[in-house]
Every structure is written in C-alpha cells, then in structure tokens.
Symmetry: C2
Subunit: 251 residues, 2 copies
Amino acid sequence: MDSRNEQKRIRLTVAYDGTAYHGWQIQGNGITIESELNRALSELLKEPVKVMGASRTDAGVHALCNIAVFDTESPMPAEKISYALNQRLPEDIRIQKSEEVAPDWHPRYCASRKTYEYRIYRAEFPMPVRRLYSYFTYRPLDVERMRQAAVFLEGEHDFQSFCQSGAQVESTVRTIYSIRVEEQGAELVIRVCGNGFLYNMVRILAGTLMEVGQGKREPESMRSVLEAKNRSAAGPTAPAQGLTLVSYEFL
Amino acid sequence: MDSRNEQKRIRLTVAYDGTAYHGWQIQGNGITIESELNRALSELLKEPVKVMGASRTDAGVHALCNIAVFDTESPMPAEKISYALNQRLPEDIRIQKSEEVAPDWHPRYCASRKTYEYRIYRAEFPMPVRRLYSYFTYRPLDVERMRQAAVFLEGEHDFQSFCQSGAQVESTVRTIYSIRVEEQGAELVIRVCGNGFLYNMVRILAGTLMEVGQGKREPESMRSVLEAKNRSAAGPTAPAQGLTLVSYEFL
C-alpha cells in the first residue's frame, strides 16, 4: 500500500507582511497570501493543494500568526513542511509552525480567541520605518477618553454598526474579551481580543475610538452606536496598514 | 535690497527607511538619500541646493534623525521648509524638523553624541514584518556573555579593528559612551552611544558581539581584538538592515 494514500490534515501558522498583497483571499486578479500558499504547497507536495484560512485579512493588513489548514497524502512529516515551504515562499510570508491536526479540524468552526493590534503613530511628521505598520496622525488623541469608550464595547454585543455594510453573515453578535489602549512611545496600540470579528470590525472600532480621542464623540456614545445596528452610526474604517493579527488561540 | 540675498544655513533632521536607497551619499548611480534631498530642495527653493550630511549611512541602514545642512537665499521661513519639503519627498524619507543655525555650523565639525541600535530577531523562523528592520538568526545567543564583552569596548579606544579596511580617516580613535544589550521580546537590541563611528564600526561591533553570544569568542577576547588594530581580528560585518541611527545630540 502506497504511503501517499493516507490523507492527513496539516495546520500552518502563517506570518506575513501584507503590504504587497491583495489580502488573504484569492480574488479575480492580484497576488494574495492564499494564492502564494497554494502555489508553494502544490509545488512542494507535487499535488494540487488548497488551503482553508482562519482570518481573511484585507489588503495591507499584517499577521504574526494567521492559521491555514490543508489535506495532503504526502508522506512528508508535518513538522518538516514549515522548513521546506519557507524555501518556496517570498520573504514577506513565513510559516512559523506546521503540525498535524485531526482530519475534521477546521479553523473557522472551532472556538478561538483572536487578538488584533491597531497601531497609531502620533507625531508632527510621519516616521518612515513605521509607515507600513502603523497609521500616522498629527491630531492629538485623548487616550483616557479612548479607554473610557473601549469599556462600552467589551462583552457580548451585536456589532452590526461595526461591520462593513454588504458583508453577509448569519449573526453579527460577537464577544470582545478586552480592548486595551496602550502607549508605546509615539505609538498608541489598540489591542482587541475577541472570539471573532466581523468584516472590517477592528478597523471600524479603531476609527471610532480615534474620533472619541479627538473629541468628536463622547465615550458614552458607544452605547448608542451599538444600539443603532447601522454602519453609519460608527466612525470611519481606519486604514489597513495599522492592523496586525498578533495572536490566535484555539480553545 | 532683495530678501533672497541674505544667505542663511538651515539644519534638517531627516528620518528614512533605507531599504530602497543606495545609502546616504551620492554615488555614480543609484538613488540616495542625499540625491533625493538635493532634488526636492532645489525644486522647492528654485535654486541649486547641495546638502552636507552628518552620518553617511550605508545602503539598507535606517535613520530616525540623521542631520543635513544647506545654505539658501530663499526667504521661506526655516521652520516651514520641513512641511513643504515633505510634500516633494517620497514617503520613505520624512523631514522631522527644519531650523536655522549659525552660518558656520557644520554637522561633522562639532561635538556630538550619536546613538545607533542594531536589532537581532531571534526565533526558529523569520518574522516578515521585522525583516527590513532587524537581522534574523535562529542561533541561540548568550546575552550575558554579550554584555560582558560590550564592557571591554566602552571608553576611548583605537577602533581600527572595527573599521572596514580601505576607509581613509585621520584617526581611528573614538569614544563609546555606552553599549547596552537589551531584550525586547524576540528582539535583541544592541544600543551603542558614542562621539563618532568609523566606517561600518557598529555593524562590525554587532557581528563580533554575536560571535561572543554564540560562544565562538570569549568576552575577554575583546581586549586583544582592540589591541590587534586589524580588521581581521574582529568578527563579520552584520547585515545593514538591522542598523538604525536613533538619536543625534549636539553638545
């Protein structure tokens, strides 16, 4: 019996710099993280491979640890795949870990805790080495007000107001375990941990909290923004480059 | 009398991401920080401008605050130049400050204290979002040994062993005020503060300290490396992308 006949499911932890990509998901044209993974895996394992991703990040969004799974009949040991695959990937995508999981394990149908960071570089002028990884603003932000507003968004809520309109999902209820607003030198980091996020949700949260920080909204207004269940009640979608998926835990 | 006839000297604080440039200094071909500043300033002030730089950083080296000066007869207020110049520069170069200085002030002929950071990302696999700003190694580094070695390099020494051979300088004696080796998560930061640095000096220091950290050299061997006054006694020149000029003080 050929060892290639035993199919197994492999989980990849994938880090990438999203600057050069049209996001995660394969679209009509444009190179994506998913298309690069499929290409490199198919070349490596000499069989057509299609990955299933956990978080379909947008163009320009970065990840330290997105998750992808695929099935293969290759006899290559699961933990060796990371090394071999990195040889075939561009340097802005790097597999951090490869491991075998149960054949029915699926990253989008299992309980998880994801953490995103949205970074804001606050100064009179932009800082070139941070331009691809944080959003620049010269406008003063009142951090204490942003923290007060964040408290209203923690917990289980219907986040329809924070979901890009047009997105099709069964439910817009999600749980945010915590939102921390932390100063790291000139950078302000909004760290959001939750059980799942709607399309553009963290970027809309960041854009809305920035309006609170600028004094355009009151912290308490977050209550009515949630109640409105309407995208137009929230603030703008903050630019993609400030967003990074920093941790992914399966519960 | 035309106001353009009064010549004044302007000092620029310049931040840049060195990834796309052939270093600071104008060379035969290739775009440099200096050539971009000259082009943008000449366009803005409508007169031929040539800047004099403080630190001629190599290709791939970054700066938060390099210094350049130039003379102009333009009536534009000194502090407005930063805003106008940034409109004409690519986004990987940003003026942080523009100010008038004494007509005879020269960045290379005045006492200063410069600080460079050399960053090393230590993990099993590279992290894409750090690839342009730190050097990746999977080899373990003994931080305590590196700190012990660094102590031997602090103070006034003849750093000829840490100078790229072929560099023409009057004296290879420099003073290092401090070398700190600090862990920031997966990154190791070697922070070197001194009154001046020879060609490639910080990168050779970093390469030599990494060899100490790997156990290839003893911390105490730094004494004989200094005494040798020969480039071949020191370790390799660490790659450019890990190096950033982070502070520049005039005394």
